[in-house]
């Protein structure tokens, strides 16, 4: 009896999690007369069409926003590693008395609302010529991903025994060669997940993007603009193409997306 109840719960939850994605598929691949033009849109595929997608990609600019999102996301991921690896390493080796306040500070900056930061930054960026640019947006988004990346890397490096480092030093390795030949390879799963989480965050980010890059938008902003202009089918077609790669990525890298990573930094 109890087992049955659990299965009913699981099925209901599965529907809850899948239904929105199913709706996205319906909108993208059904003719509009079965979806947005009905009082009660159909809940199943009556006929299948690629027309919506063709129409959307033919009539609206997809490529530029897509490329912008892609470049910004890679820049954010690379910056997160460039700044986060040394920071994570330093924090993992500092005594808790020093590293804990720094981690709290990072956590606090992570909580500063995007809007609060973005509005004054937009004023400043206009002066600096960074407004609406790829690096400008990446710099701003980095604010949120860098603390996360640092938490993940700090946790990863902490798990590596310091004896290995001492041994390497005794064997005559410089700090740099220890870093490149020993530390980074051992820490590669953590590094991969720091990069990925940064990348995914930037890919999804909306607040900074809409304020700092409104003229040549990223894909999320482009989708939003299409919705406000009533280009509903374009918005859903873009949404679909925007979503599929990340879902595939999420499933593929499921093992890196662990609760431990999210809690690791704060537990210290």
């Amino acid at each position: 009896m109890r087992i049955k109840l659990i299965y009913i719960g699981i099925i209901l939850l599965s529907i809850y999690f899948l239904f929105p994605l199913y709706v996205l598929l319906l909108l993208s691949f059904s003719p509009a007369k079965y979806t947005i033009q009905r009082v009660y849109p159909l809940l199943y595929f009556k006929s299948f069409t690629l027309g919506n997608l063709q129409f959307a990609f033919h009539c609206y600019d997809f490529i530029h926003p897509f490329l912008k999102s892609l470049f910004v996301a890679f820049l954010v991921g690379i910056l997160a590693l460039l700044l986060g690896i040394p920071a994570g390493y330093g924090l993992s080796r500092l005594p808790a008395k020093i590293s804990y306040p720094i981690l709290v500070l990072l956590l606090i900056t992570n909580m500063v609302p995007g809007l609060v930061v973005a509005i004054p930054i937009s004023v400043e960026f206009i002066k600096l010529g960074l407004f609406d640019s790829i690096p400008g947006l990446a710099f701003a988004q980095e604010l949120i991903t860098l603390p996360l990346a640092t938490f993940i890397l700090q946790g990863t490096f902490s798990a590596i025994p310091r004896e290995i480092e001492y041994q390497a030093k005794i064997d005559g390795a410089s700090t740099l060669s220890y870093f490149i030949n020993i530390l980074l390879p051992i820490a590669s799963p953590g590094i991969a997940s720091a990069f990925l989480i940064s990348w995914m965050f930037s890919w999804d980010e909306f607040t900074y993007a809409v304020i700092l890059s409104p003229i040549h938008p990223t894909l999320p902003v482009e989708i939003y603009i299409n919705i406000t202009r009533g280009n509903v089918l374009a918005a859903s077609a873009f949404s679909l193409v925007f979503t599929i790669p990340v879902i595939v990525l999420t499933l593929f890298l499921q093992k890196y997306l662990k609760g431990e990573y999210l809690t690791g930094g704060i537990k210290a």
Binding site: I3, I6, Y7, G9, I10, L13, L18, P20, L24, T35, I36, Q37, V39, Y40, P41, L42, L43, L83, G84, P86, A87, Y89, G90, L94, I102, T109, M111, P113, G114, L115, V116, V117, I119, P120, S122, E142, L143, L146, D204, F206, T207, V210, I211, P220, I223, S236, S239, F242, T243, L249, T250, Q254, L257, K258, G259, E260, L262, T263, I266, K267
Partner: protein
């Protein structure tokens, strides 16, 4: 000591970066919020917020934060406790649960706007299927906020689930066996073993989600627009229609609320080791 300095220098670039991009703009926002368009000191920006029904935005923001946190915590606990046991299709289900994490917020917002439409909405199609009448999902403020909470919870329950699952897996199985031997049923085991051991993880989930919930922006923007407004949508509306100074005033209020939240967290969680 010298060693510590070396390690500190490693962290310095990231620290400077974060401070430059968080503290300086925040201070600048406070400064801007007290200026009028001629660059003189004024309190008018804050006074004018009241014309935009600002008190109501604060209230809405708090309601959404609280409501969404409750939904996510409830679902997260339910799903995590299901995932700690063995059953057929577990692998499939645990994969499924994580999927919304990969869906962008804006996409979630748009799909849910199609689901919760009064005319041509999939939620109403669903009700229609069972012979029920369609509901006007935007008939009043409470419904509007509920739509936002549900949509947001779809996207963010996975994170809460992952954190709680990590917590549940850290609880020693022996405790459950011992309690079961003593005759404690599943509900009592949940209340007396799972919940107390999970406290720290629940706190972490609430901190992480609570702050983002206060900042929730793209979802309400797409789903309900500017009315009823939240603090973020109000600030954005002011940013795009009036002056930077007025938008800054709304943003500063948002910052003030977040600061209180952070302060409470550090005070309450400060002893956490």
């Amino acid at each position: 000591m010298k060693q510590n300095l070396k390690y500190f220098l490693f962290t310095l670039p990231a620290l400077i970066y974060v401070l430059a991009f968080a503290f300086y703009p925040s201070a600048y926002a406070v400064y801007l919020s007290f200026l009028n368009s001629a660059g003189h000191f004024t309190l008018a920006n804050y006074e004018e917020l009241f014309y935009f029904n600002f008190a109501c935005s604060v209230e809405n923001t708090i309601i959404v934060t609280f409501g969404a946190l409750m939904i996510q915590l409830f679902l997260g606990l339910a799903i995590a406790s299901v995932l700690t046991r063995e059953f057929r299709g577990k692998k499939f289900f645990s994969t499924l649960v994580i999927v919304p994490m990969g869906v962008a917020t804006i996409v979630a917002a748009i799909v849910f706007s199609f689901i919760f439409q009064t005319y041509g909405g999939y939620a109403n199609s669903f009700l229609h299927l069972f012979g029920l009448k369609g509901i006007n999902w935007y008939s009043n403020r409470w419904m509007d906020l509920l739509v936002v909470m549900i949509s947001d919870s779809w996207k963010n329950t996975p994170i809460v689930t992952l954190i709680l699952l990590a917590g549940m897996q850290s609880i020693p199985k022996d405790l459950y066996y011992a309690a079961a031997l003593d005759g404690a049923g599943p509900i009592r085991r949940f209340i007396h073993i799972t919940l107390p051991n999970l406290k720290k993880f629940i706190a972490i989930a609430l901190i992480i989600r609570g702050v983002s919930e206060f900042n929730i922006f793209a979802l309400p923007l797409v789903l309900i627009g500017y009315h009823p407004s939240l603090l973020t949508t109000l600030a954005y509306e002011l940013y795009s229609t009036t002056t930077v100074n007025e938008a800054s005033a709304a943003a500063v209020i948002l910052l003030a609320f977040i600061s209180v939240f952070i302060f409470l967290n550090i005070r309450l969680g400060g002893g956490r080791k």
